[in-house]
Each structure stands twice: as structure tokens, then as C-alpha cells.
Symmetry: C2
Subunit: 186 residues, 2 copies
Amino acid sequence: MTDLNTSVLLVIDVQVGIDALFSSERNNLDAESNIQKLINNWRERGVEIIHVKHNSTAADSPLRPGQAGNDFKPEGLPLATEQLFEKTVNSAFIGTGLEAYLKERGVTDLVIVGLTTDHCISTSTRMAGNLGFDVSLVSDATATFGRTAPDGETYSAEQVHKVNLLSLHDEFCRVVTTEEVLQRVT
Amino acid sequence: MTDLNTSVLLVIDVQVGIDALFSSERNNLDAESNIQKLINNWRERGVEIIHVKHNSTAADSPLRPGQAGNDFKPEGLPLATEQLFEKTVNSAFIGTGLEAYLKERGVTDLVIVGLTTDHCISTSTRMAGNLGFDVSLVSDATATFGRTAPDGETYSAEQVHKVNLLSLHDEFCRVVTTEEVLQRVT
């Protein structure tokens, strides 16, 4: 299992525009406050935090650079001393130097938080696991939205969230909670 | 949308040992016969088929090379003239030359089939989309197994399958059916 004490905290797409991407209901409204708790803990312990920002290339996206939605939410605001990687697709490992950055520094363990569960978080977690990192994914420090299937059937945000996590658990990562992480780090 | 007529058919992990990986029920028992129909159609039209095989590195995996489970199922057996990429993780794009092979040949469109929906198929589809390929994913030419969430709640194979597909649809790929594909190719 991931060594939480030495894990780098990878904070993905905690940006204002995420909530404007979808008109459906969202789950885990406390995700941002949990992310803030984890960031605060990592800063107190002096362990590295890496931020990932989505710069959409879609003309009408609230996450396009220059739009207010591209800004970080207050809970995920990086310090000037913290590393930032910018991306244009879901995966934090495609088109960024993140993999090389981590491997050059001997980082093996990651704790992943951010938005959204089934798009950027799932994709980044899958790639992190397949690239050889040990990953803890924090279930209540991520969230998603209700979605409609190709056949028109609708699924609640909580259903989408839970099923996506169980498909990741024990195959690409270990799914944990904010409280579990905070209890186990020293 | 993907140009189905020129799309390369990417057939992932249609191997005997897949069914021995999980003790829970499986959905889409016709997935292999649908894969066979698509392979036959691609061969008749003379369009490229690429096969991907999983060589597990886990000591106890039925997909480990040398085990009977590592063999292809009859419906997914490659011809000697068809390209084969071998992998050791979920993604068909990690540790293989697949991305370079496709890009060197100017391939832009892919039709993805194989096993299982939420592990190797989802991961490979996400990476294909993020690497810039246009992907059609065939919902009834993939399948998965019932799974248990970290909190102990169980989900049927069909629930896991459907939710994983809706998280991919319109973000990483277009989800289609075998019949839709066969009706649209000429």
C-alpha cells in the first residue's frame, strides 16, 4: 500500500469552471473542503504538493485560459513555491512533463484528489497506476455529476461516482477517505 | 465522428484467462461473437486489424505467458498477417509501440472492442482519445464482471458496464453497437 507519509499530493483541476461544465446535480459538495484539509496537512508536514490545471482548447469551455472559470477555486490555490503542470486533455500524464518529473525525483507514491471522478481523476489514476506509481485515491476529495447514458437512461452523480471508484479500486489504486489519510499520516 | 470505413479495428485482450480472473457473473455473453463478426467484416473489407494481448506479470494470473489462459479465444485469434502488440498493464498504449505505429501510418480513427469494459477497455479508450484518436467503442463487443465496492456494496456486471460506458461517451469516444457499425460500413 501507498506510503502516505511520503506520498506526493497530486491536486487535479480544482478550478472554478468545473461546476459550469455540467447542468446536472453534483455529489460530494464537501470535496473542496476535504481537498483544502489535505493540502493544509501536506504543507504543515512539508511534503510536496503538485497542482495540475486544465487549459481547455474548446472555444466554448469555461476552462479555456482567459475565462474566469480557468482560475483555481480558493481551496485548491497553489503556492508560488509549489509545482504546477498544465494540460489540455483529461490525463495529467499526457502532454505534460509530470511522469518524468516524478521519476527523476524518485517519487513512487501518490495521493490523488480533484475533479471530476470519472473524467480527469479516473484517467489520471489509471495512467498513474499503469506507469508504476502506487496511488491512493481519496473518494471524498473528488466528485462528479449526474450523467445520461447513450440509451437515454440517467444515473445520479453518486451512482456514477461509486461505480467509477470501484472499477479503479485494487486495480489501479487504493480508494481511501480524507479521514483515513489524515489519521495515518504523522 | 469516427470514419468507420477507414477505422483500424483494435481488438484488446480476447484471451481465455479473462473469465477466470473473476468469480462474479459476467454481462454480454455475446461479446465474443460480436467481436468475431466485426473481425470478419474488417477482413472482408481488407481494413487493418490490430490485436493487443495481455501478458500478466502476476505470478498467479491466468493471463501469465505459459498459462493456457494467456491464449487467444477462438473468436479473437489473429491471422499471422495481422499486427500484434503485447502489454503488461491495462493500457494498450503503455509499454507498447502502438501510438507510434498508428501515428507513423497516419491512422486517426479507431474502433475498439475486447475485454474488460472497465479495466483494459476503459483505460485504452481514455488514452486513445487523449492521444488524439477518434474512437468508436462497441458496447456489445465488450463485457465486464460484477464488482464489490470498497464499502462492501455489490454492483452487477451490467451496472458496472453501463456506468463505465456513459463516463466514456462523448468525452473520450462515441459508444456504438455492433449492428450500428456493420450497418454503416460499406
